[in-house]
């Protein structure tokens, strides 16, 4: 070992630790791809088979669009949102419980880099799951795409929004049952009551009103617009709501990270 070891090499380093944290988060879910990608795809396909078998001939949502085609973008988005939420939340709670989060906290990675790496990994996992559901669904029914731009915008923004929510949940939860409560009492009802399986126009007026307060409804509605060119709300309205929530959640998450909430005592 040479004497040069005394001199820290940080001055020569030009790259940020962000890339490594992002790489680590991607590698973490890729290593267990059967659980993080294959399992949600199989779940989405089971929903597709069951709902289509039961409702195909009984439900007509939009003119000229069969129910099976209507359902696929909803299932894609639901899987993307749930997995984007799960990625940072499960990573943080596991790191906290096992104690290895300290290896990140000891490094020069800033709160912004921390935030960006966890959310970017959530978006990648969300898009990977959504793309896989789509590719597998092509085996059953090829669905048209009216606008790739809208599909990509809502897919990315919706995944980012849920990734940030997962980050906040991961910071807040100290135990696995707290995380389960967050998922079961907030995320699950919001996704199931967001128009994945139906158009909110088929609901009574009261529940239509309630649905408009659900931000996840707008991610799915805007995403579906990208496929069919029709939706329950204007895509611009959906974009404004989803972007608004993205900004608010970003602000909350950054404030929590800056304060060291449940990370630094």
């Amino acid at each position: 070992m040479s004497d040069s070891t005394v001199v820290s090499r940080w001055g020569k380093s030009s790259r940020s630790g962000f890339y490594t944290l992002l790489y680590k988060e991607l590698l973490r879910f890729w290593r267990v791809g059967f659980q993080t990608i294959a399992a949600p795809v199989i779940t989405a396909l089971l929903y597709l088979i069951v709902f289509v078998q039961v409702l195909q001939d009984r439900v007509q949502v939009y003119d000229q669009i069969p129910y099976v085609e209507f359902l696929i973008p909803g299932l894609m988005m639901m899987s993307m949102l749930q997995n984007a939420f799960a990625n940072p939340s499960s990573s943080l709670i596991q790191s906290r419980v096992t104690g290895n989060l300290v290896f990140v906290l000891l490094t020069p990675i800033s709160t912004r880099e921390f935030f960006a790496a966890y959310v970017a990994a959530a978006v990648v996992r969300g898009l990977a799951v959504g793309l896989t559901v789509w590719l597998v669904s092509l085996l059953f029914v090829p669905i048209p795409v009216t606008s790739f731009v809208w599909v990509l915008v809502f897919g990315t923004l919706g995944s980012a929004m849920m990734g940030i929510l997962g980050l906040i949940a991961g910071l807040w939860s100290e135990k696995f049952d707290q995380m389960a409560a967050f998922q079961n009492f907030l995320i699950m009802p919001l996704t199931f009551l967001s128009g994945v399986f139906y158009s909110i126009h088929s609901l009574p007026a009261f529940w239509q009103g309630v649905s408009h307060w659900n931000p996840i409804f707008y991610t799915i509605d805007g995403f579906r617009y990208g496929f069919f060119g029709v939706s329950d709300s204007s895509p611009w309205m959906s974009l404004a709501v989803v972007f608004g929530f993205f900004v608010v959640l970003t602000f909350i998450a950054i404030r929590l990270l800056d304060s060291g909430y449940k990370l630094r005592t």
Binding site: V6, S8, W10, Y23
Partner: protein
């Protein structure tokens, strides 16, 4: 005054009391002032020193190290590593510091090599394999390079913790009870390696309950009790206080005197 490897200036740390219910937090209904872990700690460790931080359980050793590492915020006072404030200049401070934590923690998803490459990458060092292999060799981990962290014994995991603290070649290394529960063989090889690093110029801050280790390795020692420095001197001077009867004897005597002083002042 020129900068030192480690500086603690008037450090106070009070842990807020646990709030049982959220409505208590909102109403700020708590009479408890919290636990005062550190009370006006002033310490300065010069470059190249092998410095010991001793004290009984709950004396504040880990709290002090946590403040240095940025894992905890001081209620009052400032801490610096190589002249860099750990809060306002945290990037430079953390790049100058390698910490071996007390708990045996690891990420079960990765192999030893992946763990070290990732840790190195966090510091912005992305082509660091030569140094990583050198550290692995010096810690006797070469044959475990591609083993998953889960498959390692406790002693091997402890070695990886040390390697993780060294991947970015920090000039200051903090070892928080690194030999707790470690066999004699690893303890000896670990101290040989750390002593070599110290001879090459690295500053070492060690906390341990094994006083014979501190006596053999440390040039200067600070003793903490109830969050205050109750003794700070060279190892030789501390030993001279008890006529060379050993550091354990000196430790017991100093702690007893500090206890009596606390009783008299209260």
């Amino acid at each position: 005054m020129s900068s030192a490897a480690i500086e603690f200036d008037h450090i106070h740390k009070t842990y807020k009391p646990a709030v049982k219910h959220w409505w208590h937090r909102l109403a700020k209904r708590t009479q408890d002032e919290g636990f005062k872990a550190l009370n006006n700690v002033d310490l300065r460790v010069e470059y190249g020193e092998f410095f010991g931080l001793l004290g009984p359980n709950g004396a504040g050793k880990t709290s002090l190290i946590s403040i240095l590492a940025g894992l905890s915020y001081a209620t009052q006072g400032t801490a610096r590593v190589c002249g860099h404030d750990v809060v306002t200049d945290f990037r430079a401070a953390r790049r100058s510091l390698g910490v071996v934590p007390q708990e045996l923690v690891y990420d079960p998803f990765f192999t030893v090599m992946e763990t070290l490459r990732i840790q190195s990458g966090y510091f912005g060092l992305h082509h660091n394999d030569d140094w990583i292999e050198e550290v692995l060799h010096n810690l006797g981990l070469t044959d475990k390079t591609h083993a998953n962290m889960r498959s390692l014994s406790g002693g091997m995991k402890r070695r990886v913790l040390v390697a993780q603290a060294l991947v970015h070649r920090p000039p200051v290394i903090v070892l928080d009870e690194p030999t707790a529960g470690v066999d004699v063989d690893l303890r000896r090889s670990l101290w040989e390696f750390i002593s070599r690093l110290n001879q090459q110029g690295h500053t070492i801050l060690l906390t341990t309950h094994y006083l014979e280790e501190a006596e053999a390795l440390c040039g200067r020692i600070a003793m903490l009790k109830h969050g205050q420095v109750v003794a700070l001197d060279t190892t030789d001077a501390l030993l001279a206080r008890v006529g060379g009867a050993g550091l354990e004897e000196a430790f017991v005597q100093i702690m007893r005197e500090a206890g009596q002083a606390t009783v008299e002042s209260s």
